[in-house]
C-alpha cells in the first residue's frame, strides 16, 4: 500500500520535473542545425599569389589591387626594390555563391587575364552529412599584349595565350588552421625557349594559421614537376600576413614571384628566394555588395 503511494508520488514528481525542463529541450531540438558549412576557410580569395578555396558570395564585387616591388637584394640605390613595382588590378564577382568570374590586367608583360572559379564541394558536418573538404575548379586564361621588340615580327594572337586549369582541395582543420592543395596544369600556346615545355604540371600547397581574430600567417609553395634541367625558372614560394579590417583584407607578403597570375608565378618565376630574390608585396581587397 505504502509502496503504491511512493510510486504515484514518484511518477507525479517525475512529470513535474520533466515538465519544467522539457520546454528548453524541445526548443533546443527544434533548432538543431541541419548542416554546418565550413565558412571562411581563408580570409581572401587569394592565399598570396594563388587562388584560395574562397569564392565571393552572390552579388559581391571584390576589387583587388596587387603590388609586387623589386628584389630586396637589389641594393640601396634601388631602395631594396621599392623603386620598381609590378601591379595587377582586378575584380572578382560572385555570379552565385559558388560561381565566381574575374578579370584583371597585370603590368607584367602587359597581360590581361580572366578566370572562372566554381566551388564543386563544400566542407560540412552535421545533419548526418560529413564532407571533409571543399573542392574548387579554376580555369584561367592570360593574354600577353607586350609589343614585339623587333617591329614587323608580331606574334600571332594564339601564341599570346596561356591557359591554366587548377583543382583546389581545402580543409579547415580548426578555426585557426586551414590547408589546401592545388594540382595545376599550365598550357602555353607558345614558349620562349625551345627546351621549355608547353605544358607545365605543378602542385601547390598552402595554408594559413590564424594568429588572432583579424590576423593570419599564410604561406604557399608551387612545385613544378617537369621543370627542364638548366631551366631558369624556380618554384614559387610566398609567405605573408592577412590583416582584416572592416571591409578590407590587406595581405602583406614576401615572395620570389613577380607576377600575380597562375601561368606566370607557377611557370615563369625566376627569383631564387633563398638567394635574396625576394619581392615585398601586398594585395588590397575591398568588397562591394552590388546585389542583395
Amino acid at each position: 500500500m505504502r509502496s503504491y503511494i511512493t510510486i504515484v508520488l514518484l511518477i507525479s514528481s517525475f512529470f513535474r520535473v520533466s515538465g519544467q525542463e522539457d520546454l528548453m529541450d524541445l526548443v533546443e531540438k527544434e533548432t538543431e542545425a541541419e548542416s554546418n558549412y565550413a565558412e571562411q576557410t581563408f580570409k581572401g580569395t587569394r592565399l598570396v599569389n594563388g587562388h584560395s578555396i574562397e569564392t565571393r558570395k552572390k552579388g559581391v564585387l571584390d576589387v583587388i589591387i596587387g603590388h609586387r616591388f623589386g628584389r630586396l637584394n637589389s641594393g640601396g640605390y634601388e631602395l631594396f626594390g621599392l623603386d620598381d613595382s609590378q601591379a595587377r588590378l582586378g575584380v572578382d564577382y560572385g555570379i552565385t555563391d559558388r560561381l565566381n568570374a574575374g578579370v584583371g590586367r597585370s603590368s607584367f608583360e602587359k597581360t590581361f587575364d580572366g578566370f572562372l572559379k566554381y566551388k564543386i564541394v563544400r566542407q560540412q558536418n552535421g545533419g548526418g552529412r560529413n564532407v571533409p573538404l571543399s573542392v574548387v575548379a579554376l580555369t584561367s586564361v592570360a593574354l600577353n599584349t607586350l609589343k614585339s621588340t623587333t617591329p614587323g615580327n608580331e606574334p600571332s594572337f594564339n601564341s599570346r595565350l596561356t591557359y591554366t586549369y587548377q583543382a583546389i582541395l581545402a580543409r579547415k582543420f580548426s578555426p585557426s588552421f586551414s590547408f589546401q592543395l592545388s594540382p595545376s596544369w599550365v598550357h602555353r600556346n607558345a614558349v620562349p625557349q625551345s627546351q621549355d615545355p608547353n605544358d607545365v604540371y605543378a602542385l601547390g600547397a598552402g595554408g594559413r594559421l590564424k594568429l588572432s581574430k583579424r590576423l593570419s600567417l599564410n604561406a604557399e609553395y608551387y612545385y613544378q614537376f617537369n621543370r627542364p634541367d638548366g631551366s631558369l625558372t624556380q618554384n614559387s614560394f610566398a609567405v605573408g600576413f592577412d590583416v582584416e579590417t572592416g571591409g578590407h583584407v590587406f595581405q602583406l607578403h614576401f615572395t620570389n614571384s613577380r607576377a600575380m597570375i597562375e601561368k606566370a608565378f607557377i611557370a615563369e618565376t625566376t627569383g631564387d628566394f633563398f638567394d635574396g630574390d625576394i619581392h615585398f608585396g601586398f594585395n588590397i581587397s575591398r568588397t562591394f555588395q552590388l546585389h542583395e
Binding site: 507525479s12 520546454l23 581574430k213 542583395e292
Partner: protein
C-alpha cells in the same frame, strides 16, 4: 484475496491514470512557433546594420507561464554577405557558440486569460544566453490572442559589451554599443 486491498489498488491505478491524464492535459497548454522572427538593429555614425532570423523557435506554456526560445546565430541574414561573415566569425563566434537562447516566465500570468481573445501586455522575466554569456532579461511583450493563437511582439535593448563581444576600435563607428532587438512570435497550439 482481500477485497478491500484489491479495491484500494484500483483506486491507486485510477489515481495514476488521472495523474497521467493531468500531465497530458497540461501538454495542451503549450504553444509553439517554429518560424519566429528575431531582428537586431545597430545604429552607428558610419552605418546602420540590420539582420533578421526567420527560424527562431519559441514555446510558451500558458498554464505555468514558462517561455523559452532558441535560435541559431548562423540563421541571421544580413544585407551584406561580408557583414554576415564577420558577425559569425569575429563577433558572436558561431563556431563556438552556435545558439542564442532565452528561458523565462510570464510574471503577470494572473492578469491574462489565454482562452479569451484580446490584447494583453505580458511581463516576461528570465535569462538570455548569447556568446556563451548568460544575463538576466526582463521585457514587456504585446500579445494578441485570437482564435486560439497567440501573437507576441517585444522590443528590448542589448548591450554588446555585456556579452563579451569585442568590437575593435577601428570599427567602433560602425557598430553600436547597444543594439535594438525585436522578436515576434505567432504561437499555435502544440500537438501533444
Amino acid at each position: 484475496m482481500d477485497f478491500k486491498k484489491h479495491s484500494s489498488m484500483k483506486i491507486f491505478f485510477i489515481g495514476l491514470l488521472l495523474a497521467g491524464l493531468a500531465t497530458s492535459v497540461s501538454g495542451q497548454s503549450k504553444y509553439i512557433d517554429r518560424q519566429g522572427k528575431a531582428t537586431f538593429f545597430s545604429s552607428a555614425p558610419m552605418e546602420d546594420i540590420k539582420a533578421q532570423n526567420d527560424q527562431a523557435v519559441s514555446i510558451i506554456d500558458t498554464e505555468s507561464g514558462e517561455v523559452v526560445a532558441s535560435m541559431l546565430m548562423r540563421s541571421f541574414n544580413f544585407r551584406k554577405a561580408l557583414m554576415e561573415e564577420h558577425f559569425n566569425e569575429n563577433y558572436v563566434e558561431s563556431h563556438k557558440y552556435p545558439k542564442a537562447s532565452f528561458k523565462g516566465k510570464v510574471t503577470n500570468i494572473g492578469e491574462v486569460d489565454f482562452s479569451k481573445d484580446g490584447k494583453y501586455t505580458l511581463v516576461v522575466s528570465g535569462e538570455i544566453t548569447l556568446h556563451g554569456i548568460t544575463r538576466p532579461l526582463t521585457l514587456k511583450a504585446n500579445a494578441v490572442i485570437r482564435n486560439g493563437a497567440i501573437q507576441a511582439h517585444a522590443v528590448f535593448p542589448l548591450t554588446v559589451k555585456d556579452f563579451e563581444i569585442e568590437v575593435p576600435r577601428l570599427v567602433i563607428n560602425n557598430i553600436a554599443e547597444v543594439v535594438e532587438v525585436t522578436v515576434s512570435f505567432n504561437y499555435q497550439k502544440m500537438n501533444p
